[in-house]
């Protein structure tokens, strides 16, 4: 349902994506790994038009993503995004954060949205934090609100850019367990992550990105347990045995 065809993206003269071909099928969890600066965030951000790209094509269920076209707003309501630094709206409570999109973008009925938003927050384990402002929540709680905010849009897919990288170690687990549940429910997800064990458990496919190119791809088991590319081997050694 998310498809990259020979996508090239440059910032000025610096080419960051150098011919990406990839596909995430409906109900699939795809994990994107690679060294810092290899273009993972950029690849994700191109999918919902937070960045534009110069050539090739990205499409969602056949519809081309063009960051400069009016259609981008509708595409974004179908492909939600979860950020490394949560980016919750600080002037709204957890519940208001989750309700914001459905009410003010999708124009849905406030009472129905409220009930649904409360249900989403319950599901991510925040039933008792609904009326808290983000500043009163821990990082792990904030990220779970952000996931609930994404789910409330009833998206076809969710993009997650290193959802646990900004968290203290003891909070990583609670966020990953929410993502595990989503994977079990066959939510389509494209996840940038350094959590190799997590990727092994949930990913249907893994892509290893190296300097803007896909250096290796395959099933989680193949790429993570039997990498063939020297760069992948080196990368995995570094993230699994940090110096």
């Amino acid at each position: 349902m998310i498809r990259f065809e020979n996508v090239h993206k440059s910032f000025g003269r610096h080419e960051v994506l150098r011919g990406i071909d990839a596909e995430v099928d409906k109900g699939q969890v795809m994990c994107l790994i690679g060294a810092s600066g290899s273009g993972k965030s950029t690849m994700l951000r191109c999918v919902n038009g937070l960045e534009d790209y110069q050539s090739g094509r990205i499409s969602i269920d056949g519809e081309t993503v063009d960051a400069h076209a009016a259609s981008i707003h509708a595409i974004r309501t179908r492909v939600a995004m979860v950020f490394q630094r949560f980016n919750l709206f600080p002037h709204m409570t957890a519940l208001q954060n989750v309700m914001e999109g459905p009410i003010h973008v999708l124009g849905e009925n406030r009472d129905e949205v409220r009930a649904r938003a409360q249900e989403h927050l319950r599901r991510v384990g925040l039933a008792d934090k609904m009326d808290f402002y983000p500043s009163a929540l821990s990082g792990g709680q904030q990220q779970r609100v952000a996931i609930a905010r994404a789910l409330a849009m009833r998206p076809d897919a969710i993009l997650l850019d290193e959802p646990t990288s900004a968290l203290d170690p003891e909070m990583v687990g609670e966020v990953l367990s929410v993502l595990r549940d989503l994977a079990q429910e066959r939510m389509t997800m494209l996840i940038v992550t350094h959590e190799i064990q997590f990727a092994r458990e949930v990913a249907d496919g893994v892509i290893f990105l190296d300097q803007g190119r896909i250096a290796e791809r395959g099933s989680a088991d193949d790429v993570l347990s039997r990498p063939t590319h020297a760069r992948t081997q080196e990368f995995l050694r570094r993230v699994t045995h940090p110096v």
């Binding site: 919902n48 937070l50 707003h73 995004m81 950020f83 980016n87 709206f89 999109g101 973008v105 500043s135």
Partner: protein, 218 residues
């Protein structure tokens, strides 16, 4: 000369009428300048060149002219071009135009200081620019811009004395007239200064109070 307290009683009514004029000029031009300033700031952060460039040139143009000259221009030149304003009206318009630039820059600073991640989060749920500004960016920008906006208010209040040059009968003007008819410069201008402080000190205290409350709420 009569005793000090008698002179104070004698001068006070005139100065208080001037004080009310000062308050009126300040409030009216503050409302106008804030509205116009918000327009400049929104144009400049619209991301559309044909909106942001005119606003930028307008701000740079107005900021490059001294208030006094703006006031003279509006009061003395505009009538020749067919726009006849009373001194009071000309004073309000001149102050508002000049201060719309400072206030606009203050608002723009607030808008730009809002975390980029907020804009991205708003976009990622499909929000369009206008709604994103209204619901996500401006509420946060207001908090950031509040302290400098408070400064703009106090500066505007003090600069309202400039409209005395086109003979608006506000506090400074009344003081000047009173001083030249009584030759009692010391008493008159001390009273004028004290009356300004009666406005600026509470205003400063109010701003600090609002800042604290807003800081506590976020």
């Amino acid at each position: 000369m009569s005793p000090l307290h008698e002179r104070i009683q004698e001068y006070l009514p005139l100065l208080v009428t001037g004080l009310w004029q000062t308050v009126a000029v300040t409030l009216l031009s503050l409302v106008l300048a804030s509205t116009l300033g918000l327009v400049w700031a929104l144009m400049r952060s619209s991301g559309t060149r044909w909106l942001s460039l005119p606003a930028r040139y307008m701000v740079e143009f107005l900021r490059g002219i001294p208030i006094l000259v703006v006031l003279f221009y509006i009061y003395f030149v505009m009538p020749e071009l067919g726009l006849d304003l009373s001194a009071f009206q000309a004073g309000v318009v001149g102050l508002a135009l000049t201060y719309s630039c400072y206030i606009g820059e203050t608002f723009r600073g607030g808008i730009e200081a809002v975390d980029r991640g907020q804009v991205e989060a708003a976009k990622s749920i499909g929000m369009k620019h206008g709604k994103m500004m209204r619901r996500i960016v401006l509420p946060q920008a207001v908090r950031i811009a509040l302290p400098p906006y408070g400064n703009n208010m106090v500066m505007l209040l003090k600069d309202s004395s400039q409209v005395s040059v086109i003979s608006v009968a506000e506090l400074t003007m009344q003081g000047k007239m009173l001083a030249s008819s009584t030759f009692d410069n010391m008493t008159v201008f001390t009273m004028v200064a004290a009356l300004y402080l009666c406005l600026t000190i509470p205003l400063n205290m109010l701003m600090r109070h609002v800042e604290l409350r807003m800081g506590a709420a976020s």
